[in-house]
Amino acid sequence: MKINNISIKPGGDKILLSHGDGGLKTSELINNLILKYFNNNILSRLEDSAVIPGVHNTRIAYTTDSFVVKPIFFPGGDIGKLCICGTINDLASSGAVPAFLSMGLIIEEGFEINLLEKILESANKVLTESNTSIVTGDTKVVERNSADKIFINTSGIGFIKNNLNISPMEIKPGDKILINGSIAEHGLAVLSSRPEFSFKTNIASDCAPLNGLVEDILKISSKVHALRDATRGGIATVLIEMSQKSQTLFDVYENKIPVKREALSLCEFLGLDPLYIANEGKMIVFVDSSDSDKVLEVMKKNKYGKDSRIIGEVTKKMESGAVSYNTKIGTTRFLDKFYSEQLPRIC
C-alpha cells in the first residue's frame, strides 16, 4: 500500500504495550530493529548513559529518556520531578556529575496550564537540588486525543573525572552489592493512583535525584566498580543485566533486600513480585569488599540512603552471568529474566 507515495507492505507485526515495558520484547525491538539502523560501538553497549570522548581528556556522559507515566501526578511526585530525576540518575550511574539537561514537551491540546506550571515547578525543584539546569528545549502541541495529556523527553550531559572507571565491566568477584533503600515503591505508587485501583496505601514513589548520594560514595571510596539505577523491571532486571554484562555470578539474599510492609502486602494482594517492580530513587552499588562498610555508612548518612543495605556479593566469573537468589528459607534459585510488565506506563 502507499502512504503519501511511500510503499509500505500491509499487515505485519504491530507494536504492543510490552515493546515499551523494558522487558524481553523491548530488548527484541532494540536488538532486532533499532540497532539494525543505528549501530556503533557506543550505542551497542546499551548503557544507561553513553560515555563519549570530550576535549582535554574529559569524558562526557550523555543520556536520553522519555516519560509517559500515567497518571502524571502520583503520591511522591509527578512527571516533572520524574523526568529530571530519571535523567540525573542515568548520568550518575556512569559516575558523571550531571550538568546540563534538555527538555522536549509534547502536550495535548486542552491540557490545563496551571498543571503544566506545577510540573515545571516540580522539575525546577529537582534541578535546584541537584545543581543542574535545563539549557535547551522544545515544545509541541498536538490535537486533543493525539497524546495523553503530556509526554516529556529529557536528555542530559554530565562530566566524568578521567581517573574514574565506573562500568559493569569493572565488576569483580568479591565485590559487595549495595542498595540505598526499600524497593518497588514507585511502581506501586503509580499503580495505586490510577482511578480503577481500589486499594488505599501510604506508599509513595521513591523518585529522587541520586547524584549527591553518588558523589558521597565516590568521595569516600576509589574502589566503586559499578553503579546502576534500578527503574523499569525492578532490581531483578538490573541485577541480571549487570551479571550478564560483567560475566559474573551474583549471590543475593532475600532477607537482606529492604521492602516496606505495605509494599509487601500490596504485592501479596495483587500477585506481584516486588523484585520486578519499578523504582525511581534506587541505586545499586558494586564496590570492593574492603570498602563496602564505609560506603554503606556514608550512604546511610545521605537523605536518600537511610535504609541502605548490603544485599549480596559477586561470587565468581561466569560466562553467561547469573543472579543466585537465596530465599528466606535458605534455598537458592536463579532469578529469571523479566518477561513483561504487568503495570504499563509506570515511567
Partner: protein, 70 residues
C-alpha cells in the same frame, strides 16, 4: 488463581467491609461471610472475604510482613 491474603475487618456497611492488611486497606464484599464482625480476620480473594479465620494465626502472618520489611 488461589491468591488470598489475611486481613482485619475495621468497618462494615451492609455487604461491604473495609479491611486492613499490613498497611493496605480496601473495601471488600462480605456477602460470603455474613456473620463477620468488626475485629474479625478474614481471607480475601479477588475482593471478597471467603472465610473468617483464626485471629492469632492471622496476626502472626501479618507480623511477618514487619520482619521482612523495614
Amino acid at each position: 488463581m488461589c491468591v488470598a491474603v489475611p486481613a482485619k475487618i475495621v468497618e462494615i456497611t451492609d455487604h461491604s467491609a473495609q479491611i486492613e492488611s499490613a498497611g493496605v486497606s480496601k473495601i471488600i464484599d462480605i456477602s460470603l461471610v455474613p456473620q463477620a464482625a468488626v475485629g474479625n480476620y478474614v481471607i480475601v480473594h479477588a475482593g471478597f472475604a471467603i472465610q473468617i479465620v483464626d485471629s492469632d494465626e492471622a496476626k502472626k502472618i501479618l507480623e511477618l510482613f514487619e520482619t521482612y520489611g523495614i
